[in-house]
């Protein structure tokens, strides 16, 4: 589908350790926020790194009709923004300086006024203006994660690959961050592939999900209909229910590890 992301027969791994073998992902339309789900070590980060150009892969990853692997580096960086799992390094750089450096390298021809406007807009959105001239090594882990997210959102790339963008955030900023991501996509017809562990956040914010397990995509489709008790048992090894909250959103309630798991049965709710 034009404007979308489509993966076909993707093999990714590390020397002597294949992680993903034959990942297939149907095309997602422009504006889609796609949750990349799966248990620990299922290959979520590996897949995002490969698509971001940090790991070699075999197979086809196409975006907006372009084969990502065939794009020259500068065109690829104009198309793809990537938020690593680790936040920006704690250095003596100022927060604003880090954002400027991203633009000076990724979009050197963008006029200074436009760069300042974009940074200011995203910093406002993610509450970073108060610390814009602080050293990065004085920020909390959560603020550094928001800075990393701001760097990607400000670049406004058509494809955003976000590796656990809310893992260090409190409840309020998990929601703020996901709203910011969704609004950025919808306003510009971009696509985001977001690795997440919080299934309820994924069900609430994502248009679609892809669940990784056993080295491939176990299921992919609309969030509300794809996440089922059977899939959760298979992917995560848990007995869980998918219910509706009072506002009608689907929510996952995990009861216990499926047979063979080591943790204790939780109270049913």
């Amino acid at each position: 589908m034009s404007g979308g992301l489509e993966l076909s027969g993707l093999h990714v791994g590390y020397p002597g350790r294949p992680v993903l073998a034959g990942v297939e992902l149907p095309a997602w339309p422009a504006g889609a926020l796609v949750g990349l789900l799966g248990p620990n070590a299922s290959g979520k980060s590996t897949l995002l790194k490969a698509l971001a150009g940090l790991l070699p892969y075999q197979g086809t990853a196409a975006f907006a009709g372009d084969d990502l692997a065939a794009l020259p580096r500068h065109r690829r960086s104009a198309q793809v923004g990537y938020l690593p799992q680790t936040p920006p390094q704690a250095t003596g750089l100022l927060v604003y300086e880090v954002a400027l450096s991203v633009f000076r390298v990724a979009a050197p021809t963008l006029p200074r006024g436009e760069v300042e406007r974009r940074i200011g807009e995203v910093f406002d959105l993610l509450d970073l203006n108060g610390v814009a001239l602080s050293r990065v090594d004085t920020l909390s882990g959560g603020k550094r994660q928001l800075l990393g997210l701001a760097l990607v959102l400000a670049r406004r790339t058509p494809l955003m690959l976000l590796d656990e963008p809310t893992s260090a955030l409190d409840l309020r900023w998990q929601i703020e961050a996901l709203h910011a991501i969704r609004d950025t996509l919808r306003g510009r017809g971009a696509v985001a592939l977001v690795a997440m562990h919080d299934l309820n956040l994924a069900l609430r914010f994502c248009d679609g999900v892809a669940v990784l397990g056993e080295g491939r995509v176990l299921a992919a489709g609309p969030a509300a209909t794809t996440v089922t008790p059977e899939l959760l048992r298979r992917a995560y090894g848990v007995d869980a229910r998918v219910e509706r909250c009072s506002q009608g959103h689907p929510i996952v309630v995990a009861n216990a590890a499926a047979t063979g798991a080591t943790w204790q049965r939780a109270d049913a709710c």
Binding site: G53, P88, G92, Y96, R104, L133, D183
Partner: protein, 357 residues
């Protein structure tokens, strides 16, 4: 953006003030760079004015403007000893400071320096071999620096080759460097064990790092190498700044981190090889010059890189003056003095910084 939940918007704080306030910070840094440059000029002038022969300031100024106005002995002292000595200190310090700054960022390691990578030690192998094996006596005065340069360059190229083959991950390169340090130390020990007492003493003095062999050739070559390397380093200042933010982020923004590391290591190898060939291994400047620059100017590499070069130059220039003043009538090898001056300055800066945070 349509989303309006951000606290910044809710609280009515805008982004409008940040660029203006940041520009003020960059202006302050520019002034600080200018102050460092002025301090360096003053230090070089003081270095030229310092020496056992006690030439009056007026004579020195007159000799600089019109060399023929000086008596032959004074002319030799000013033009063949003091000026090359002072300029060599500045040029060597600037080269080591820049090499250290680039290496620390490229390898993401605050302990990285031409010393850590073993390049200075490889130069020492070349120089000690030339002294102990008596090669210096059969060649010109340039044979010893040539041997040191050749070995330092070979070490730099070996590290580059290994980084190309095994990847330029920072740990790998640092480990190669440490292995090289041990290998070079062993070879130096063997050469000294085989040498006689006189050559061993000469080699030990060379390894202390000294400006005593200052010559216009040395000044010219070091300045030329610096003039070639510095603009290239500065051209990549934004990329270096981005790399400080994190390697994955830098790569996804379109930066070839591997290629950048290779280029930085190549510049470091050349700067160090040429410098060490003429002044011997002076370790402290390449390590601490960048740290002082970082404390003074932050880590925006547009300021940090020239700052590290200026700090390195200033540090070595001050050390050169002190080396003539600490013991009357004796010029102490400058490598000893850099640590004696640099350590207290460095510790004071760190303490001041901690108090401010």
């Amino acid at each position: 953006m349509t989303h309006a939940r951000g606290a910044g918007i809710a609280a009515g704080t805008g982004a409008a003030g940040t660029p203006a306030r940041y520009r003020r910070i960059t202006r302050q840094r520019t002034w600080l760079l200018a102050a460092l440059a002025a301090a360096l000029l003053a230090s070089v002038a003081a270095d030229v004015g310092t020496g056992p022969s006690g030439l009056p300031l007026a004579t020195l100024v007159q000799g600089l403007l019109d060399p023929q106005a000086l008596a032959p002995a004074e002319r030799v002292i000013l033009w063949n000893l003091r000026l090359p000595h002072a300029l060599l200190a500045a040029a060597a310090g600037a080269s080591l400071g820049l090499a250290g700054a680039e290496t620390q960022t490229a390898l993401n390691n605050p302990l990285a320096s031409p010393y850590t990578l073993g390049i200075s030690w490889a130069a020492a192998v070349g120089a000690v071999a030339a002294i102990v094996l008596g090669l210096e006596g059969i060649g010109t005065a340039l044979l010893l620096p040539l041997a040191a340069f050749a070995m330092a360059l070979a070490a730099g190229l070996a590290i580059l080759a290994l980084a190309q083959v095994f990847g330029s991950q920072t740990d790998t390169v640092i480990l190669f460097g440490i292995a090289l340090v041990f290998a070079c130390t062993a070879v130096i020990s063997l050469l000294q064990f085989l040498g006689d007492a006189e050559t061993v003493q000469q080699s030990v003095v060379w390894m202390m790092g000294s400006l005593a062999r200052a010559s216009w050739n040395g000044v010219g070559l070091i300045a030329l190498t610096f003039a070639l390397a510095a603009p290239r380093a500065l051209r990549g200042a934004w990329a270096m700044t981005l790399l400080r933010g994190g390697e994955d982020q830098a790569t996804s923004a379109g930066l070839s981190v591997h290629r950048m590391r290779i280029a930085a290591l190549l510049r470091c190898s050349l700067l160090t090889a040429v410098t060490v060939a003429f002044v011997g291994p002076i370790g402290f400047v390449g390590l601490v010059g960048p740290h002082i620059a970082r404390l003074l100017l932050g880590e925006d590499h547009r300021f940090y890189l020239p700052g590290a070069a200026l700090t390195g130059a200033l540090l070595l220039s001050l050390a050169a003056i002190a080396s003539k003043l600490l013991i009357a009538g004796v010029v102490i090898p400058v490598g000893i003095v850099t640590a004696m001056i640099g350590v207290p300055v460095f510790v004071a800066l760190i303490v001041a910084r901690r108090r401010r945070l």
